[in-house]
């Protein structure tokens, strides 16, 4: 709004205030000024469609939805709630940064909130997907700006976020350069052509050759 218009508006408001003061009218609730953002009620698509799109059975979807809806009656999770939830699992450290990255990974359409569909699609990949899909998802998580390359800075951010979750009281004590060193190790392993970035193919190739990683991919299969 231009300066003049704003000035006029302010003067008008002040005059109104003086008038009210002099005549002694009780101040009305200023509800009409602030239009509250009505809570978004999001309804997921039908059970059949979700069944088709994900690899969960009907019953599993029911259980998941019940838990989700119980926690977020409005049907969507926003980032703050996400951070709170994650913080409760890792009380000794600061999980907010990692939760932020995680939120972005789940929020596939980037609209700032995670609906049940997003949630269940993400879980479907993580729990029931093929190794390829899981690695894809992990790459997506690390690639913060979604440009197809993981740079050292991005990896450093992720690493710091993970180490933040540990908190201060660790043994051995966490030093400043521990994340950096960890990133170096990671890049040495992953970056085959030493161009300073890791592409999706390098990533997948390298992980598939690593036994530990392969084994750990199957770790959470029976979570639900």
């Amino acid at each position: 709004m231009s300066c003049r218009k704003r000035c006029k508006r302010e003067i008008f408001k002040f005059a109104q205030y003086l008038f009210r003061l002099v005549t002694g009218t009780l101040s009305t609730d200023s509800v009409e000024d602030e239009l509250e953002l009505s809570t978004v009620r999001h309804r997921p698509e039908g059970l059949e469609q979700l069944e088709a799109r994900t690899r969960f059975s009907r019953k599993e979807l029911q259980i998941l939805y019940r838990g989700f809806k119980n926690e977020c009656p409005s049907g969507v999770v926003n980032e703050d709630t996400f951070k709170d939830i994650y913080a409760q699992f890792f009380p000794q450290g600061d999980a907010s940064t990692y939760a932020h990255f995680l939120f972005n990974a789940f929020d596939t359409d980037h609209n700032g909130s995670v609906s049940f569909v997003d949630f269940v699609m993400g879980l479907s990949i993580l729990l029931r997907g093929t190794v390829q899909e899981k690695l894809n998802w992990a790459f997506n998580l690390y690639d913060i700006n979604k440009d197809g390359y993981i740079t050292k800075e991005e990896m450093l951010d992720i690493m710091k976020a993970i180490y933040d979750m540990m908190g201060k009281c660790t043994y051995p004590v966490l030093k400043e350069e521990t994340p950096r060193q960890h990133v170096e190790v990671f890049f040495q392993k992953m970056d085959k052509n030493k161009d300073g970035v890791v592409t999706i193919d390098e990533f997948i190739d390298c992980c598939q050759n690593d036994e530990n990683i392969m084994r750990s991919m199957h770790l959470f299969e029976n979570v639900l």
Partner: protein, 647 residues
Amino acid sequence: MAAGVAAWLPFARAAAIGWMPVANLPMPIAPTEKNKRQDELIILNVSGRRFQTWRNTLDRYPDTLLGSSEKEFFYNEETKEYFFDRDPDVFRSVLNFYRTGKLHYPRYECISSYDEELAFFGIVPEIIGDCCYEEYKDRKRENAERLMDDQEDNKDAKLPNMTFRETMWRAFENPHTSTMALVFYYVTGFFIAVSVITNVVETVPCGSVPNQKEVPCGERYTVAFFCMDTACVMIFTVEYLMRLFAAPSRYRFMRSVMSIIDVVAILPYYIGLVMTDNEDVSGAFVTLRVFRVFRIFKFSRHSQGLRILGYTLKSCASELGFLLFSLTMAIIIFATVMFYAEKGSSSSKFTSIPASFWYTIVTMTTLGYGDMVPKTIAGKIFGSICSLSGVLVIALPVPVIVSNFSRIYHQNQRADKRRAQKKARLARIRISKTGSSSAFLHSKRNGLFNEALELTSSTEEEQRLSKSTSLLESQHHHLLHCLEKTTVSESADHRSVMSSTLRNHEFVDEQYYQQSYLEGGLQNYPSRSPSLSSQDGMTGTCCTRRSKKHHTPLPNASAPAHMQPLTHTHTHQQGLQELSTIHIQPLSTSRSSLNMRVDDPAPLNCQSSQITTAIISIPTPPVTTPEGDAHLPAGPAHQNVVKVSAL
């Protein structure tokens, strides 16, 4: 973990895949869920109202009753539901806690019933949500205060063995407990009044002697006033010393407010005695006389209203402090303004800011003496603003103080009312207690009577007699009797069974107890003396063995052949047999039975020193025959008299 967190755990675990590619070390093995069952609905039947929820919902809080295996105790096999015999309305809040993770306190619910339900279900009240926590705490505090009031009333109770000192202290604290205390109370009150009136009248100018200026009465009738003062101070001193002597904790008494007031009231007199006609300190002496007015505060022992007022002021200390502070601020502001406003005018009384304080105070409290008045226009404008704002500032904390006073006053009223009601309630309780204990004694005596009957007659009469006592009563009586048997005097010699005359404690009438207590020794209850003296023997509990007996004469009843331990009866399923009353047998049999007893090892450890008869209201088969279980009919077909042997 909170409810919500449990629901998100699968998600958090799944998201952990994000760490995998970064990790250098192998991951630990994930815990597997053995017998993972599908989530199922469980039905909670609370006093008829059925609540249903998922099993997982209840499992969220495993340290509560519903979340742990403790609820299996309440499982009803036939209806396949969990039955709780509790209040369904409160259960609603409890179940909502599992569902939402927040515990709410419904306002209409009584606080103690709510607390009991929470305790039953194993939920700690501290997790009540913020929305309801304040209300909960307030109600709890009110309740605690109420209970504390009740407890304070107990100090009226007279213990039987109070020393002289304790009696005196009790008399001082509660004047209505004895006549002497009441007399003392009124006498001191009278003397306080006399002393205060004397102090006041002392200063009144009375009757002028011609060609002399008016003198106050104190100087005219010096001797009279001095005598009066001395008398009052004597009384007060004696009272103070007596209280000091009687106080349970002298140090604490000396620190209490009332005793300080007492001391301050009588000290000036003694100091005056000590330093008479000494010119230097007579000025200070005169000041000390002012403290004599503190005697009026001694009235607060006599007046509850004064005490309440004092307590109110103490509890409103913060409000009063705020009032004072805000007044001070306003005074300084307005005094400054008035001073500078009136600086210009000539012959103004506002000579300095502290001098303006007086004007400001007088104006703000709307007194308006008129000795200092602003003359300039600015001064008058600010003066009017000052008086308007004064009203506001003073009026603000007053409602708080008033509401505090009202609350405390009503609390006191309630306490008095409750005291009166309590007396009536205690009287009723006492009547019912004596009723039940006399029923017990009555039944015991009936037992003796039954003894004689038993020798001669059939079972009908016993049947008739035993019907008069209900099952619960008879069990209760049996219990009391067992207790009697258990308690043995300490001088018991367990070895010499025959020689020592042990007696166990028995329940007796209240009047009998007082009688015997006053006479300084527990005597034999006349009608039962033979059995008392025969009660040698061990620390007997109730009868252990019972032998079925059908019309065999008494002395042989102690035949140990059919003895069965007590537990046998109790293993009968439907509790069909109960012991109704235990009766005492005369001397001879017990002696013989005692002889036998020495060799007989008791399967149970309880041995009673006498043979007792028990009327058992079992349907048909007697205690001892093992084949009885299958054939027990539902109702009592006939009564068996079963002799309970002492051995």
